[in-house]
Symmetry: C2
Subunit: 178 residues, 2 copies
């Protein structure tokens, strides 16, 4: 079956700091027209930082779209041209004050492929070495440390709600001896 | 540490079919001002439909933001006021032509809490009963059936890239005997 759509027009809606929004006109596989609403994003990394005792570092952070604080693994947006691995190291230094001696890409995910091109690279960071905390200007967060099994229980009972964090923890638990 | 932001202004940017976009002005915890770009979404469900032999049903679907076809678990947007469980059954009927005798909520995830309020409810559907395929108007997709272990291998090797699908499969593998 032909599943492809052909873009036949595009209109810019919004050009923000973090997202751009456009509305495309597409030709559906059956020849009819439709519109697609698309949120462009530069991409991001998210890292599960695990110490030698299977303890994981998290950050608590206010999320304006939800008007609440979420418990998440360290994460951040890619700067233009920045390799994801460099971004992962930078975010770990900025958010939890550690540098990893081992950094392994576990997967990447499209977080909302129905309306956004956001791609998130998921890393497992190990052999953590203390680094001075390079707090990002205007970023307010609190570091939380927890054993991995406890974090996995929080996934199952619904206390952890962030998609990339849940995926990162579930993937990490497949790589690590518990 | 105080992590909360206070919204002090809001500007509507776009009112689409699927998303609304607004730009808020917020007061940061240190008293300075900043802006937040927020994509509103009505929420969605995603379902891992598993038959009695641990075979999983997927759909292949073109995703305009990525300009490519993704392999995903059945999913769809909540209609206004629709209970997530009803939505899950509806989407299963529309997309793969089965109704589940057992439907269990595994988790919910915020897919992109940095810029969107989208919340996705993840279900495990079992005891699938054949139902006539109620294709949604203007939706083009192809049903794929695969053993769960094969699908999990596709997560690890990067062939499955959709966030909710990866999370759903990893969660399902914790509930099911493999």
């Amino acid at each position: 079956m032909d599943l492809y759509e052909k873009t036949i027009g595009s209109k810019k809606i919004y050009d923000g700091k973090i997202i751009r929004v456009r509305q495309d006109r597409v030709l559906l596989p059956d020849g009819r027209e439709s519109t697609r609403e698309i949120v462009e994003h530069s991409g991001a990394v998210a890292i599960v930082p695990v110490d030698n005792n299977n303890g994981v570092y998290f950050v608590r952070q206010y999320r304006a779209p939800l008007e609440k604080i979420l418990l998440e693994i360290p994460a951040g947006r890619l700067e233009p041209g920045e390799p994801p691995e460099e971004c992962a190291k930078r975010e770990l230094a900025e958010e939890i004050g550690f540098m990893p001696q081992k950094l392994r890409q576990m997967a990447f995910i499209y977080s909302s492929p129905g309306f956004s091109d956001e791609k998130v690279y998921l890393y497992l960071a190990q052999d953590l070495v203390k680094h001075h905390l390079e707090n990002d200007e205007g970023e307010f967060l609190e570091v939380v440390h927890m054993p991995l099994p406890e974090a996995l229980a929080m996934v199952t009972d619904g206390a952890i709600e962030d998609g990339k964090t849940i995926t990162g923890l579930l993937l990490a638990s497949r790589y690590l001896p518990l």
